[in-house]
Symmetry: C4
Subunit: 247 residues, 4 copies
Amino acid sequence: MAAAHENPDQLVTSSDPEHPANLIPSLCAKFWTLGWVTGTGGGCSIRDDDLVYLAPSGVQKELMKPADIYVLSLKDQEPSLKQRTYLRSPPLYKPSQCTPLFLAAFTRRGAGCCIHTHSHWAVLVTLLLEAKGSSVFEINNIEQIKGFGKGMGKVGNLGYHDTLRIPVIENTPHEEDLTEYLEAAMEEYPDTYAVLVRRHGVYVWGDNVHKAKTQCESLDYLFQLAVEMHQLGLPWISSIAQIGPQR
Amino acid sequence: MAAAHENPDQLVTSSDPEHPANLIPSLCAKFWTLGWVTGTGGGCSIRDDDLVYLAPSGVQKELMKPADIYVLSLKDQEPSLKQRTYLRSPPLYKPSQCTPLFLAAFTRRGAGCCIHTHSHWAVLVTLLLEAKGSSVFEINNIEQIKGFGKGMGKVGNLGYHDTLRIPVIENTPHEEDLTEYLEAAMEEYPDTYAVLVRRHGVYVWGDNVHKAKTQCESLDYLFQLAVEMHQLGLPWISSIAQIGPQR
Amino acid sequence: MAAAHENPDQLVTSSDPEHPANLIPSLCAKFWTLGWVTGTGGGCSIRDDDLVYLAPSGVQKELMKPADIYVLSLKDQEPSLKQRTYLRSPPLYKPSQCTPLFLAAFTRRGAGCCIHTHSHWAVLVTLLLEAKGSSVFEINNIEQIKGFGKGMGKVGNLGYHDTLRIPVIENTPHEEDLTEYLEAAMEEYPDTYAVLVRRHGVYVWGDNVHKAKTQCESLDYLFQLAVEMHQLGLPWISSIAQIGPQR
Amino acid sequence: MAAAHENPDQLVTSSDPEHPANLIPSLCAKFWTLGWVTGTGGGCSIRDDDLVYLAPSGVQKELMKPADIYVLSLKDQEPSLKQRTYLRSPPLYKPSQCTPLFLAAFTRRGAGCCIHTHSHWAVLVTLLLEAKGSSVFEINNIEQIKGFGKGMGKVGNLGYHDTLRIPVIENTPHEEDLTEYLEAAMEEYPDTYAVLVRRHGVYVWGDNVHKAKTQCESLDYLFQLAVEMHQLGLPWISSIAQIGPQR
């Protein structure tokens, strides 16, 4: 790391496609095709041990390059997290307002990757819940629910009959001001790997890139299904008798 | 095969793009873009004579590599099929819970390829059928129905006026426990090339990769059309007088 | 051409990407991504003077290769068009049942290219029209209508206020039996560049590849818009006062 | 520039992917995949200081090449803008009817890029507004609204609680005749970066390519969301109490 500190660009220079500085641009390009990071919205951050890799504010997410990536060290940060110092800052850019939200997933949940999307399906789910005065998305008895872990420190994934619960927080004019509400939702829902933001999108994290991506894809799938089910008059929660052996 | 047994990696090493170990990753990457294998869900298995090639559990389907593929020999398996032995197992992975379902298509129907998707359209069709207490999807008088064979051992494909019937089985908490219900549905619908799984997705097979892919694409097209027809108040079954010469 | 007759494979061998034997596979791959030729359905044929290039029956449209293409000479064909002779036939394949329908566009309209899609939007439009007992799709006052020519031998394209009319013919069990109905629709609608086939799809042609593709894309756009307008309770035909100078 | 005037093709020849003659084709290819420029509709123009780069009329937007690009000098144009002179004209093509609309964005707003789409979502929004006799699209309290600047010469972007207003002008039979109405809408809505055209599409511009693309993507996202909200019975305008600190 000493060498890296001397030349910060080395922190984002690697021929390994799995290096966070390469992965963030390739993941974001893929997310753009899914409609998750339209119009510079949304983003993705990866933590590698103590180092956090972050996309800058306001970039076209499908055009990002490794040289655009910010890097910070978690141990360098002030406890308040309001003022951040970076090991490496790209020229011309500003840090993303999502930064404290990504850091919350890393410091409070030990996540290795956090994805933020503006997916239509996420926004529509928050609007449908708003219309009935609810602040939690709940769905059960859909196979794709198995794509989620049971919760931090717990072994294994949710089962088919389990109810997936994703809290919704209200949006704020400044994205960084969401942090305290995101953290409160994490407190209230200690097992959740995602928080919806009303009229805005969703934050999804996981222990590593693989799990964060799997959970984000699974959740977007469920949000889409939930909107379609609503349009077809089908409820999100059902009581179905279990078939097959108990284990 | 002797050489392959001595070095199992040779079973998944080929420069031929049509080799099953190359085809499964390229097909799964294509299926990912169609929304069929989101969030590590779904999958694809190919049988080449006695050898069966299988994707592992829990991998990102669009990122799979030939080295990730399991290989087993059908003749090596115990009749019960509960305990399986593999000619080649990739390091770090676990076998897919879909394995016994793929094997059912290979051993009971002589299929050469079986595809499992979590397609939204398949799931929505099972939900619409559930709402009216039905366990079979039926549609007729749509050209794309011609994309299906008449049934195992029968010559030719379904006609435009024929009714395509796809049975629906109830989902189980553990995917491998679906096997007995899938096999029962195969018994009850001896001509079917596909079985829907309630709130889960669909299994589609064919005599070879080409036919399995054609049937899976055609079926997904019909599921999408069926959901759209339902939204527009149009019935899936109609009686239309035949036009043109009889043959 | 003499050399070509001596070695038919030369008819489909060219390094020019605009050669019909190269264009048909590249167009069909693009159409597959649009959902127009799912499950081996649909297709595309190009006429170059007297030579007609055709895809075979039952191929995966996004995987087609130049070597898969049939070639025939229009002047070689019997007037009845029931028995066709080919200058070049690919091994292993059968001619497409769409062949006489493509030939109708070439011989009766002088088209240079004809595209057949199984697009959902086309099928849904025919179903919506069926429900109100109609056999003609009509829409006006949509900008994209300008994507269509006024008709064979007429100069220029339709205007914004013009009504685009596309006849619908009933489907037949055997695709080749559609030919007489397609030809009758061409007679009845001498200006049309497309014919819808109930519960099946659409045939669209143009003076050349560019115009056929433009008209097919524009029509699919209008079919999608029409279905969406129907879902929103908006009529396809409206009377809007003209704004701006007359010309 | 002297050299360029002597050989106009130099105006569109560059190895820099950010050169307007390279950017317009690559952007249009991307827009085609989004359904914005189907069937040769829509387009994109870039201004570099005094030079304006324009796509020709009636080309397949995803197949465009740098050699297809028109170039004109703003200072060479007659004040009336009816008769235009080009520094460089591609052979075989005609100038686009969109030209005076693009020029309006460049001369009246100092835009660096203007995008015109035929997006379904834009057209459907104009139809929904027509049904209630409205000529302005309004939406608030959606995060993606932050993708828009406050207006020409103003610092910063709209906030979450701000109402985005996009005027709608009526369509004309000849696209160039839209110019006076577009200019009138610019006068009436001095802060807008976009104008909807009824039953046609939308024009969106920005200070540079990055901002025009961001605003066009954000707007299309909002149009899609608005149509989906309408289908779900959710209003586009809401009054939500502000959360978080004022600034």
